[in-house]
């Protein structure tokens, strides 16, 4: 085997010894070059663990950047569309960043770790863009994906698990807050963030303490229903929460080839992330022009009749006029609803309007087709009060 082939071997995360042991299904996926679990036991059970107890998800492969320097804040403010001056130390912000044409390159979370010190997490890799954006700023941008081990702990008992593990005061951490704790001689950063739309936390530690963290978490959660969860269960959770995913619900603007395939924040339902009151930011001029001219697309949440998931369905306004397509779909066990995220061409997709999804489904090899009525809904399909309660109830 050539050296090249060897070097291209899929990597293992810092938790691999533990995830491999837990992976009864031997179900693996390649996530950004890392070996990650699709499901450990059964995706449904893992999903219900998140909704009724707590699930642990290995997020090491998430792309991470460390952004430091005297001008880290103005740098980020120019990079992303939202006002970063409002994100104080100890806070986390969801953000999108655009190209010059105001099209979304990616979304991600920005952690204000300490004064002037940030971590940016995203699905895709962007070092070249981030470095070019750094020209003219006193800022340092470094990739640190492999230097940080990260786990998500999501679900109603997650706070109780962390308390059991000895993280005193964790119950006071507010949504989108972060705090630092001591853990076996290391610093453990905990943020109240996640991709499930529920009460949950993300834990960040140096790789040397990764396995110990995993073990302690499961020990503390022994009677609190903690289960490892794979990407299948997480995907269902994020659709219920109405979270969009790069490469699925929109394509990174720097990857599309055909004109008109990239999306602006306005076209992804993220207008609340665009702040024209702050100084220049990437895409500002184009977005201002789009605001005047009107956007082309709209991302909508659909509540669909019946129980057949509308995977890849065309969306119609009326019976004949095709206006868009579904990008993510699922039967939501917790909402007892047939839900989907879809992209439709404006003016279709007004809140509470009615659309149709053309659903193809298979029964014993034979295909059937139905035009299912859909309601455009504004709220996430799953948005429990415990997601925001501080301190959370002790489940």
């Amino acid at each position: 085997m050539s050296d090249t082939a060897t070097s291209e071997r899929v990597l293992e995360t810092h938790f691999h010894s533990r995830t491999a042991e837990a992976n009864y299904r031997n179900s693996w996926q390649d996530w950004k070059g890392y070996t990650t679990a699709g499901e450990y036991t059964a995706a449904d059970l893992e999903y219900f663990a998140v909704r009724n107890a707590a699930g642990v998800f290995d997020l090491c492969p998430m792309t991470k950047y460390r952004i430091t320097g005297a001008e880290a804040l103005p740098y980020l403010d120019r990079l992303v569309t939202r006002d970063m001056t409002k994100v104080k130390p100890g806070r986390v912000a969801y953000a999108v960043w655009c190209n010059d044409a105001g099209k979304v390159i990616d979304d991600g979370t920005i952690f204000h770790l300490r004064e002037g010190e940030y971590r940016l997490c995203s699905q895709e890799r962007h070092l070249a863009w981030f470095l070019d954006a750094a020209v003219g700023f006193d800022v340092t941008v470094t990739e640190e994906t492999d230097e940080v081990a990260a786990l998500a702990l999501q679900g109603p008992t997650s706070c109780a698990v962390l308390k059991e593990m000895g993280l005193t005061g964790i119950e006071n951490l507010k949504p989108f807050g972060l705090d630092h704790f001591r853990f076996e001689g290391a610093e453990l950063m905990v943020s109240r963030t996640g991709f499930t739309g529920d009460l949950g936390y993300e834990l960040w530690i140096d790789p040397g303490h990764a396995e110990l963290l995993w073990d302690r978490l499961f020990l503390a959660g022994k009677y609190l229903g903690v289960q490892p969860i794979g990407s299948h269960a997480l995907d269902l959770c994020r659709i219920e929460a109405g979270f969009i995913q790069a490469g699925v619900d929109f394509l990174p603007a720097d990857e599309v080839v055909r004109p008109g395939r990239a999306r602006s924040p306005f076209e992804l339902g993220l207008e609340w992330l665009v702040d024209f009151r702050k100084p220049n930011f990437n895409g500002r001029r184009a977005l201002a022009a789009e605001l005047r001219r009107g956007s082309t697309w709209r991302l909508v949440k659909l509540d669909i009749e019946g129980n057949k998931p509308a995977h890849h369905s065309y969306v119609y306004a009326g019976r004949r006029k095709q206006v868009g397509f579904v990008t993510s779909a699922a039967w939501s066990p917790v909402a007892k609803a047939n839900v989907a995220l879809a992209t439709v061409q404006r003016p279709a997709g007004e809140p509470n309007s009615r659309l149709f999804a053309e659903i193809y489904y298979q029964r014993e090899m034979h295909w059937s087709r139905m035009m299912a009525a859909c309601q455009v809904v504004e709220k996430p399909f799953w948005d429990p009060p415990r997601r925001r309660a501080t301190p959370p109830a002790n489940y």
Binding site: P74, R78, D100, D132, V135, G136, F137, P279, N280, R284
Partner: protein, 524 residues
């Protein structure tokens, strides 16, 4: 000094394009202030005093692209523009003394009959294409994807002009537009000496060798100019190129422009996404509704404006602009007219070329690719004191040479010692054709690209503020997002050689920019 602190327009840099732009804007009724960091106007259009009593064009030394529209409208002759020698010929120096004189399409010397016919044919073709492109120099370059009627007309007209060349002509145009001059000259000519001298014109001021793609386009671009009504002709300005700069300044002042030298702009000030004025070195600020930069695009965006005021993609394009200069300038003060073996006195008033064959030029380019200077450089020589005795004391002469290749990013960097060492090498190279030269030298200086960058504030020491190649030509110049002189930041414009139609002393960029500014900001 009390100074008014609000102007209609501030032009950064009193290069000839900045002055042209200022003059046109002032004529349209604008209150225009030009701020120049140096102590003299003209920028690269400069006359330099480098030894007691000896003066020489410090940067460009030949006029061949000054737009007659600009010269006429600004009445540059009234403000001192005068040619000392018009329509000069080129003497291609041969190591064996069998020099060839090239004058337009005519050849004198030891050449073949095929050379004579070939040059005439080559010259006709090139002039035809140059004539096609010529009108577009004085127009705003069109955006390709745009609904603007003017742009559509320009694109349509360009298409039509190419179509009018006829089937064969159109095919030839499309074949030649991105080709290298090496292959084309071999198609037409026999004599290496002639080909070498023609190749020199294609690569002068660029980071190209004769075999580089695009090197024919630079040759055609050069021919789009004219002097004294003769297309493609070259002239020596009286008093050196500084006189040209002064003529532009004179025209600007007459139009009411306020020109201040020794006032370096530190920053372009931006408020709410709009340029609102400048901050000078020392901290003074001057407000203006419109800011125009005659600096090169890199300096303007990366240093004066600051990337934070524009987008990352735009910053990326500006940073990637190819603008690495390769030309050094040698100035010699001589106690007499140098004796080039086999060259008559008359020819010394024209242009001498040291580029004995195309491979010589290509080999001279090779080391430049790797950050080293040519061991046997390509040299364009003028002795302007032959036609203009005012440049040197009586009986004495001044020699001006453009020397390639001297890469701006020299391995290990440029220093005074290294510039002097390269100067020595250049003098030796010239002395091979004029054996007594060294004895005649009273004083000498070599301006490296680093010196040119410092003195004339040209990024990378690049004479054209950016390679003139297809990827940075017409609707790609300097880069998408700033093609029509307007920058992404409202109220900020470019007017220098970095914009269409590019480098050399033309005045066209300044004139086009002024037209565009008046169109966009309204004729108040």
């Amino acid at each position: 000094m009390t100074e008014r602190t609000t102007r209609d327009v501030i032009v950064i840099g009193a290069g000839h394009n900045g002055l042209a732009c200022a003059a046109y804007l002032a004529r349209a009724g604008r209150d225009v202030l030009v701020l120049e960091a140096a102590d003299e106007v003209g920028g690269g259009a400069a006359t330099r005093s480098f030894a007691e009593g000896f003066r020489v064009s410090g940067c460009a030394h030949l006029l061949y692209q000054l737009q007659p529209e600009v010269a006429g409208e600004l009445e540059l002759a009234k403000f001192g523009l005068e040619t000392a020698a018009a329509d000069i010929a080129t003497t291609a120096l041969s190591p064996d003394g069998e020099h060839v004189v090239i004058h337009g399409s005519r050849l004198e010397g030891r050449v073949t009959e095929r050379d004579r016919e070939g040059l005439s044919d080559f010259h006709d073709r090139m002039m035809r294409f140059a004539k096609l492109l010529r009108p577009y120099l004085n127009r705003r370059p069109p955006l390709l994807v745009n609904n603007d009627a003017t742009d559509k007309m320009t694109i349509g007209r360009l298409g039509l002009d190419i179509r009018r060349l006829g089937r064969a002509g159109m095919q030839e145009f499309l074949r030649l537009i991105a080709i290298n001059i090496y292959d084309v000259l071999n198609e037409h000519l026999d004599t290496e000496l002639v080909k070498g001298a023609l190749a020199l014109d294609a690569v002068l001021g660029t980071h190209l060798g004769p075999r580089s793609p695009n090197s024919l386009l630079t040759y055609i671009h050069r021919l789009t100019g004219e002097t004294g009504g003769r297309p493609g002709a070259m002239a020596l300005p009286k008093g050196g190129m500084g006189r040209v700069g002064e003529a532009f300044a004179g025209a600007a002042r007459a139009a009411g422009v306020d020109i201040r030298c020794g006032r370096a702009v530190q920053h372009i000030r931006v408020e709410n996404g709009r340029a609102v004025g400048v901050e000078l070195a020392g901290g003074d600020t001057i407000a203006a509704r419109t800011v125009v930069s005659n600096a090169d695009p890199k300096t303007t965006v990366l240093d004066l404006l600051g990337p934070r005021h524009v987008e990352t993609g735009f910053t990326r394009r500006i940073r990637n602009l190819r603008m690495r200069g390769n030309a050094a300038k040698l100035h010699l003060a001589l106690d007499g007219l140098p004796d080039f073996s086999g060259v008559d006195r008359n020819a010394l008033g024209g242009r001498l070329a040291i580029a004995p064959d195309m491979d010589y030029v290509e080999r001279a380019f090779n080391p430049a690719k790797y950050g080293r200077w040519s061991a046997a450089p390509v040299i364009e020589i003028t002795i302007p004191s032959v036609s203009d005795p005012s440049l040197a004391p009586a009986g004495r002469h001044v020699l001006s040479a453009v020397v390639q290749y001297a890469p701006s990013r020299l391995e290990g960097g440029w220093s005074e010692e290294r510039a002097a060492a390269f100067g020595d090498l250049v003098i030796d190279t010239i002395a091979a054709y004029a054996p007594d030269l060294r004895k005649q030298i009273i004083a000498s200086e070599l301006l490296s690209p680093a010196d040119i960058e410092r003195i004339y504030r040209m990024g990378g020491g690049h004479w054209h503020h950016g390679e003139l190649a297809l990827d940075q030509f017409l609707f790609n110049r300097p880069a998408p997002g700033a093609v029509q002189y307007a920058m992404p930041v409202e109220g900020l414009y470019l007017c220098g050689a970095g914009t269409h139609p590019g480098g050399s002393i033309t005045g066209a960029a300044g004139r086009n920019a002024a037209t565009e500014i008046l169109r966009r900001e309204g004729n108040s």
